[in-house]
């Protein structure tokens, strides 16, 4: 079978299965959380590179809310001054 068709089928099937699993998980496994964490997660890069000392952005957001960590430790979002100020106001509330 022509290689383009074969690779297209393999990838679409794979993406379909994974997409279905993810969408099922999003609808069924919703866990209620502190609303601020949701907003924080949208502001943080979400790259989970671990450079801030905590393992993932979600973990870093928890620490930010508890006040254990400081936004300056997240090196990627340092680039964006207005984002940093937005995060700081969010935490002040």
């Amino acid at each position: 079978m022509n290689i383009i068709l074969l690779s297209a089928i393999v990838m679409v099937v794979l993406a379909g299965i994974l997409g279905a699993i993810l969408s099922f998980a999003y609808s069924k496994l919703k866990v209620e959380e502190d609303p601020r964490k949701e907003q924080l997660l949208n502001l943080l890069p979400g790259v989970n590179c671990g450079a801030c000392g905590s393992a993932s952005c979600a973990d870093f957001a928890d620490k930010l809310i508890k006040g254990e960590a400081d936004i300056s430790k997240c090196r990627i979002s340092l680039r964006d001054e207005n984002k940093v100020t937005k995060i700081k106001d969010l935490l002040k509330e």
């Binding site: 690779s7 990838m11 993406a15 994974l18 993810l22 866990v31 000392g53 905590s54 393992a55 973990d59």
Partner: protein, 195 residues
Amino acid sequence: MVKELILVFIATVLVNNFVLKYFLGICPFLGVSDKLSSAISMGFATTFVMTITAPVAWLINNYILVKFNLPFLQYVCFIIVIASLVQFVEMVIKKFFPLLHQSMGIYLPLITTNCAILFMTLQLVLKDYSLIKSMVFGFGAGVGFTLAITIMASIREELKFQDVPESLKGPGITLIIAGILALIFVGLGGLIQVK
């Protein structure tokens, strides 16, 4: 057979250490290793994750890529499955095991952007290990990562009380210490000759 597995394990932990010889997982290595407790839990989580990713990668490679002879899809297939599985497993653990999520689950998203894990999956395909050997290789890679990160964390905790030159504070001195550690691990080279 078991002898071979032990050799592969020791070679991956000591001789071909993922952090100090192949420069992998440097972002978490620099970032997280200033506290021993978080270093250890990150090490265990990474080891756990590597041990389950290795067989998954082996299955994808043998039953999809090799069977349909599509070598060029290797990177895309591995990374899409790893990224999606990670998101799914993390949600499952967050929903059903909140306690486990607190200690280990938070490290799961780390897998998608961790060089060590992708490198490990590509190496076990390149060296075309069997399923069992791939798992031992993944487990050894994780233990090697944990070893390097815990040694570094304990040194850095001592470092807080030493006077480090102003400009080297933080990542600078960590890299220099990592250089000395790498020098020690070079001494272990040639300990075991295994493919």
